[in-house]
């Protein structure tokens, strides 16, 4: 299953986009814990793309590509911004950063997904999560 969408840079749209995508994934039998972590990572990536990548510019768009395999899901989110220094994001778990109000999105994605890679200077993220589909879904 492949889901491809191009969405406007509007943070208010995120719940609807996410619901639309994850209803389809839920129907494929992915366990709830995996789905929670993948959904959170997807929404964080989308938030970063809109807020930091496209700087909430409504003229800019975000491209989404989600591919579901039998044993993994891959998600790509691409914005139209300048990218960022993804090698040097401060760790929010360090004592001096623990009380900071921002800087957890990228960390959460890296913690909850199995593989995370940035391309195009940071304006495109590709993340992968492995899982076991329920047997009924394997046979269909």
């Amino acid at each position: 299953m492949v889901i491809e969408e191009i969405v406007k840079s509007d943070l208010k749209l995120i719940p609807d986009i996410s619901s639309r995508v994850f209803e389809r994934l839920q129907a494929r039998g992915i366990d709830k814990d995996t789905l929670f972590n993948v959904r959170l990572s997807f929404e964080e990536a989308l938030t970063n793309a809109i807020r930091h990548g496209n700087r909430n510019d409504s003229a800019k768009e975000v491209s989404i590509r989600i591919e579901l395999f039998l044993d993994k899901i891959t998600i790509e989110v691409k914005d139209q911004g300048q990218g960022f220094d993804f090698h040097n994001t401060p760790l929010p778990t360090e004592k001096q950063n623990l009380e900071k109000l921002s800087g957890r999105g990228v960390f959460l994605i890296r913690s909850l997904m199995d593989e995370v890679k940035y391309f195009d200077g940071g304006s495109r993220i590709k993340m992968v999560k492995s899982f076991n589909l329920a047997p009924k879904d394997r046979s269909s």
Binding site: L11, K12, I14, P15, K32, D33, F36, N37, R39, L40, E43, E44, T47, P92, T93, L98, E99, K100, L101, S102, R104, G105, F107, L108, S111, L112
Partner: protein, 110 residues
């Protein structure tokens, strides 16, 4: 997200329901503004019906804890769903917040 508030002796128990995400966190911040204005010093967030918290939700909760601490207040959280608790563990925010398994245990700690 909805939040029902109830005063139990000197503790304001806020039972939140739904998702705390980038959009609902805005309302949560407004609710917290009112709580700060009302001068409640002991606030317990019951998360039994909270199904999702993203980084914006975490930021709003951190902000509330900081504001309460500044006025000598306390914030506790209880009855957290395991998936939500995992987010607090991954981000190490369990070191910053005081999180309890049940409402009774949290109330006893105030």
């Amino acid at each position: 997200m909805k939040m029902v508030q109830a005063q139990l002796n000197d503790v304001l128990v806020c039972t939140a329901e739904g998702e705390i995400n980038i959009n609902t966190a805005v309302q949560l911040r407004k609710d917290f503004d009112e709580i700060i204005k009302s001068n409640n010093k002991k606030v317990l967030m019951n998360f039994s019906a909270v199904s999702y918290v993203d980084s914006s939700g975490l930021a709003t909760l951190i902000e509330m804890l900081q504001r309460l601490k500044k006025t000598g207040g306390k914030l506790r959280i209880c009855n957290m769903d395991q998936k939500v608790k995992n987010i607090f563990e991954v981000t190490k925010l369990y070191k910053f917040f005081e999180i309890f398994e049940t409402q009774d245990l949290a109330l006893k700690d105030f």
